[in-house]
Symmetry: C2
Subunit: 228 residues, 2 copies
Amino acid sequence: MHPRALRDTPVGSVLLTNGDIDHIAGLLSLREQTPFQMFATGEIHKVLADNRIFDAVNREVVPRVTVALDQPFELLPGLTAKLFAVPGKVPLFMEGTEVQTDLEGEQTVGVRLSDGAKTAYYIPGCATVTDKLLDQIADADQLFFDGTLWDDNEMIRTGTGVKTGRRMGHIPISGPDGSIVRLSGLKAAKTFIHINNTNPIWQPDSLERAFVTGNGWQIAADGQETEI
Amino acid sequence: MHPRALRDTPVGSVLLTNGDIDHIAGLLSLREQTPFQMFATGEIHKVLADNRIFDAVNREVVPRVTVALDQPFELLPGLTAKLFAVPGKVPLFMEGTEVQTDLEGEQTVGVRLSDGAKTAYYIPGCATVTDKLLDQIADADQLFFDGTLWDDNEMIRTGTGVKTGRRMGHIPISGPDGSIVRLSGLKAAKTFIHINNTNPIWQPDSLERAFVTGNGWQIAADGQETEI
């Protein structure tokens, strides 16, 4: 981390795992000439390059570092990261008429984070838990995982959208193919993140929340800190 | 205004007066399929069109209406608006190596708002108060005006930037060419808006604030409502 200064922030590095608005729009609030390093895949950097508004994040102050999939790199001193493909899709604003929702490439990635002693995985968007993904994250001490929706029809049922969760690139929590069942064999501590405001697990007294916590999952909250 | 509905907002129309981040990034928070009309000049619409991230603001739900300079149009039922050129510049992220800071065109505009009885002007960015501008706003009952900086060297003096105010397209409040002196002949009620966080008029007990209010200006605050 760099020294404290006027208009400084505690942000040393930014790692983008997706090119959609909820992952990149925050950069526009970090544009006041504060130095940090910005890591992303080539495809995600291309989204930024194709939208000139992100030129406000000055490349001379904020170096844009392209990282390859499956290649470890130093995210911060003492913290190694590695990106890997996760089933997903291109950003909403780049969708064409046909959308592949189980694309595995540089558009949607998960992150392996390790300090050499403990290992955490951060996967905020995932359309389906494949056997390949289960192998990838088998060594997790802590998993932060996509908790967008409780069930696949949630947006439609609540009148807040017209798409299923899987169409949006998000596996539901519940059901036989849902994340709880698919990830039940993992020995890691598990925390749902990226939770939509339609998700009933937000309700303190809901059966859904009780089911999630009863299955050993934590439900993340703003400002939460997790010790691993 | 349209009827209340799930995930509705009270926003009926959005009028963009500039294509820079502080004027357009908020659109990315209004993207949840909520209908409103979006008005702007052709040049400002071009900034949005050139940045695909704004495709998330669905054109089928949010019509993009191009308005010509100096042509009145209905912004909301009973409220007529008119855009006019104000000295300014292109957005920061579109600056080339040479920057014209007193450009008068479609990139930076002021707004005349009238319900037929009273007239307000909204001018959040203005590099210099020309005689033409004074003529334009002579019939104002209320003026909301660019109060970004107290003096031209403020960003440099406070170590928060390397550019003068005029280089950023903002006339200072103070000085013989500043906005208070230049606008002193106007009969309108006057309010400073778009005030930078370096501006000493924010300090409750500052001499600068006393000077501003002593000259009959109001200093806007978040959530303020003004009756005209």
